[in-house]
C-alpha cells in the first residue's frame, strides 16, 4: 500500500469517526448541576416546596414557578468570603427559550438584584412566558455574588408553537404604547449599522481598487514617515479633497442620526439598578420551636441508604411533626414505607415538647444520593446539610438546618 493511499485511509477513518462521535452525541438537557461539588449544593441554599404551575404552555402563555429558598447558616467560608450579601433569583434555561415576565420576592416586586444574608428566607414567585417551541429543562436559580449560580429543582417545560403568532409586549412609560420587544427598532438599528459600514467600505474601495498597494513599498521604504508622498504620486491633492468630503459626509450622517434620535426618542433615562432588602416573610418572624443539633450520617452504598441520627428539641408548647428533609434539589417527605423520595423517622416523626433532645433516626433509601453525586466521598467537606421542616398542629412551621458529619464506608 502506498503512503498516499494509507494517508487517505487514515483521513477517511478520522472523518468517519468524527462524524459518528458528533452524530451519536445526545443533546444536553440538564445544566451541569451534578458537576458542582456536593457541599456546594447542600451547604449553600435550601429549596423548599418548589413547584411549576404548568409543564406545557403555548408561546406567549405563562406559567409560574413558586417556592422558598433559604440561604443556610452553614454557608461555607470559602464562598463569597463566607458572607453572602448580594443575590439574584432567576431562571436557568437553555438560552432565552422562556421570558421572565414578573418576579416577586417575599411579596414585593423584585425586577433585579437583592440584598441577601445568611439564614434569611426568600419566598419567590416568577411568572414565566414560553418563547421558543421545544421541550426545555428549566430551573429556578439563586446566584450569589462571589460564589456563582446555585440551581433549584428543575422541570421539563414543553412550549408549543402558537398558531396566532408570538410577540413580547412591553409598555412604554411615557406614551403608554405597547411595543414588541422581539423586534422593536431592529430595522432602525440595522439601517444605521449598515449605513456606517457602507461608508467604511466606500473608503476602503477608494484606496484599494484604483491604487496599487504592495508595490508602493518600494517607494515608501525610501521616504520619511511623516510625508504623504505627494511628490511621487502616492497621495494626491484629489485624494485629500475626496477624503475631506468623506469626513464631512460622515459628520453629516452623524448629525442627521443625532437629530433623528433626539426627535424620535426624546425621553431617555440611564439604565436602572435596583438593589434592596426584601421584607422578611412571615415564616422568618414565627416563633422558633425546633432546635436541631449536630448530627451524624452514615451512607450504606450497598443498600443505597442514607441514615442520619440527629438530636432534636421541641422548645414549643405543642407537639411538632417532622414533615420533610430537603437538600439541594432533593426532597424527602416523611413516610412509613422506605423508597425514593421518602424519609422514615424513628422512633417517631412527632416530637413532644421538652427541654431534653430526642434523638431521631432519619432513613432515606434512595439511589438518587449516588445518582446526583451527593455523597461527598472524595471531597474536602464530608457533610450532609439541608433543612428539616417541622410543623405544629396549629400550622406553625419552622425550617431548621440539619448538618451531619458523614461517616462513609470505604468498602
Amino acid at each position: 500500500m502506498t503512503m498516499r493511499r494509507r494517508y487517505r485511509r487514515v483521513l477517511w477513518a478520522a472523518l468517519i469517526a468524527g462524524a459518528m462521535l458528533v452524530g451519536s452525541a445526545p443533546a444536553a438537557f440538564a445544566h451541569g448541576e451534578r458537576a458542582q461539588e456536593a457541599y456546594l449544593r447542600m451547604r449553600t441554599v435550601a429549596w423548599i416546596d418548589v413547584s411549576f404551575s404548568k409543564t406545557t404552555v403555548k408561546q406567549g402563555e405563562t406559567f409560574t414557578i413558586t417556592g422558598t429558598a433559604k440561604i443556610l447558616n452553614a454557608w461555607p467560608t470559602n464562598l463569597a468570603a463566607g458572607d453572602p450579601n448580594t443575590g439574584y433569583i432567576g431562571i436557568i434555561a437553555p438560552g432565552p427559550v422562556v421570558l421572565l415576565k414578573e418576579r416577586t420576592i417575599n411579596g414585593v416586586s423584585a425586577p433585579s438584584r437583592i440584598d441577601v444574608c445568611r439564614g434569611c428566607i426568600y419566598e419567590f414567585s416568577m411568572v414565566v412566558a414560553g418563547r421558543r417551541p421545544g421541550k426545555w429543562h428549566v430551573h429556578p436559580s439563586f446566584s450569589i455574588k462571589g460564589s456563582g449560580t446555585l440551581l433549584g429543582p428543575g422541570e421539563f417545560i414543553t412550549i408549543e408553537e402558537n398558531p396566532d403568532g408570538f410577540s413580547n409586549p412591553v409598555t412604554l412609560a411615557e406614551s403608554g404604547s405597547t411595543i414588541n420587544l422581539e423586534n422593536y427598532q431592529l430595522s432602525f438599528t440595522w439601517i444605521w449599522l449598515v449605513l456606517t459600514f457602507l461608508i467604511g467600505l466606500a473608503w476602503m474601495i477608494y484606496w484599494t481598487v484604483p491604487k496599487r498597494t504592495v508595490t508602493n513599498l518600494a517607494v515608501t521604504s525610501q521616504i520619511p514617515l511623516n510625508t504623504d508622498g505627494m511628490d511621487y504620486g502616492l497621495i494626491t491633492k484629489k485624494d485629500h479633497r475626496n477624503m475631506n468630503w468623506f469626513a464631512l459626509g460622515t459628520a453629516l450622517l452623524l448629525l442627521a442620526g443625532w437629530i433623528y434620535q433626539a426627535q424620535a426618542f426624546p425621553t431617555k433615562i440611564p439604565q436602572q439598578i435596583f438593589q434592596f432588602a426584601p421584607p422578611q416573610p412571615a415564616i422568618a418572624k414565627a416563633p422558633v420551636f425546633a432546635e436541631v443539633g449536630l448530627g451524624s450520617a452514615d451512607y450504606d452504598s450497598a443498600n443505597k441508604t442514607m441514615t442520619i441520627q440527629v438530636p432534636v428539641t421541641n422548645t414549643g408548647q405543642t407537639p411538632m411533626d417532622l414533615q420533610q428533609f430537603t437538600t439541594t434539589t432533593l426532597k424527602f417527605a416523611t413516610g412509613t414505607a422506605a423508597g425514593p423520595g421518602v424519609m422514615t423517622v424513628a422512633p417517631s416523626a412527632t416530637v413532644e415538647p421538652g427541654s431534653s433532645p430526642t434523638m431521631l433516626t432519619l432513613t432515606m433509601k434512595d439511589p438518587i444520593w449516588e445518582e446526583e453525586l451527593l455523597v461527598p466521598i472524595g471531597e474536602s467537606q464530608l457533610l450532609i446539610t439541608g433543612v428539616l421542616v417541622f410543623e405544629t398542629p396549629d400550622g406553625q412551621v419552622n425550617y431548621a438546618e440539619l448538618e451531619a458529619n458523614l461517616k462513609p464506608r470505604f468498602d
Binding site: L99, P111, S141, W192, N216, D228, Q272
Partner: protein, 254 residues
C-alpha cells in the same frame, strides 16, 4: 518647477509594472488579511469590553464610553501604522473597523441569534466605522502619529460614542415594568434569560465619577478619550514592535 532625479526615480518606481506582484496579489492580501484583522480586533474587544458590546443593558453612560474605545482602537492603530508605513494608505483604522464589523456581525447573528435565540435588537454589535474614518482622516491631514494619537484618538472616542448612542437611543426609553420605571434595555436584560450572567454582574453606573453636577456622561467621555490615546499607543507598540520590527529582522536575515 525642476524635479530632482531622486523624485523622478521614485515616481517611476511607483508606476513600475511587476510581472508577479500584480493586482491579484493585492486582492489576495486584502481578502485573506480581513479575517485575521477582524478576528484580532474582535478578540481584543472581547477581552477588554466583551459584555459592554454584547448587551444593550450594559451600554451605559459611564463605563461603556471608557472601556470600549480603548479596546477597539488598539488593533486599528497597529494597522494604521503598518498601512501608512508600507503603502501610504490612511486606511488602517477603517480597514479594521470594516473587517471587525463583518466578523462580529456574522458571530452575533449565528451564535447569538440562530443558535441561542437572542433577539438581535438585544445583542447588536457596536460599530466603530464612523470613528475610524475620522481617525484615518486625521492621519491623512497631519501625517503624524503623535498628532493622530492626540487629535485622532479623542475624535475617535467621541464619534464612536455618538455613532453608537444613535442606535442605542430607542432602548433607553423608559418602560413600565414590574411596578417600576426602567429602560427598554433593562427589560431586555431581565426578560431574555442570561443563565450564567446574573444581573448584579452588570458593571454599569458603578463608581465615583459623579462630580460635575452629575454629568457623568461628559466626564466619562473625556476620560474615555484620554484612555483611547493610551490605547492608540498600545496599538502603535504592537504595530511597530511586534509586527514591523520582527518582520524587518526576518527579512534582513534572509
Amino acid at each position: 518647477m525642476a524635479v530632482d532625479s531622486k523624485t523622478l526615480e521614485l515616481r517611476a518606481l511607483k508606476d513600475k509594472q511587476y510581472r508577479w506582484i500584480d493586482r491579484k496579489w493585492d486582492l489576495v492580501f486584502w481578502v485573506t488579511a480581513a479575517f485575521v484583522v477582524g478576528a484580532a480586533a474582535d478578540i481584543t474587544k472581547q477581552l477588554f469590553a466583551g459584555d459592554w458590546d454584547f448587551w444593550t443593558d450594559w451600554k451605559d453612560r459611564q463605563w461603556w464610553p471608557i472601556i470600549t474605545p480603548f479596546a477597539i482602537i488598539i488593533i486599528g492603530s497597529a494597522l494604521q501604522y503598518i498601512q501608512w508605513l508600507a503603502w501610504r494608505f490612511p486606511t488602517g483604522m477603517t480597514y479594521t473597523a470594516v473587517c471587525m464589523f463583518l466578523c462580529t456581525l456574522v458571530g452575533r447573528w449565528l451564535q447569538w441569534g440562530a443558535f441561542v435565540y437572542y433577539p438581535m435588537n438585544f445583542v447588536w454589535p457596536a460599530t466603530m466605522v464612523a470613528a475610524a474614518i475620522f481617525a484615518d482622516w486625521v492621519l491623512l491631514k497631519t501625517k503624524s502619529f503623535v498628532l493622530t494619537s492626540l487629535i485622532g484618538s479623542i475624535l475617535f472616542a467621541i464619534t464612536w460614542w455618538i455613532s453608537n448612542y444613535i442606535p442605542l437611543a430607542p432602548y433607553l426609553q423608559p418602560a413600565q415594568w414590574m411596578d417600576r420605571v426602567v429602560t427598554v434595555a433593562d427589560v431586555q436584560g431581565i426578560e431574555y434569560v442570561r443563565s450564567q450572567t446574573p444581573e448584579y454582574l452588570r458593571i454599569i453606573e458603578h463608581g465615583s465619577l459623579r462630580t460635575f453636577l452629575g454629568e457623568t456622561q461628559y466626564v466619562s467621555l473625556v476620560f474615555g478619550a484620554t484612555v483611547a490615546v493610551a490605547g492608540y499607543w498600545v496599538g502603535q507598540f504592537i504595530g511597530r514592535g511586534l509586527a514591523i520590527w520582527p518582520i524587518g529582522r526576518f527579512m534582513k536575515k534572509w
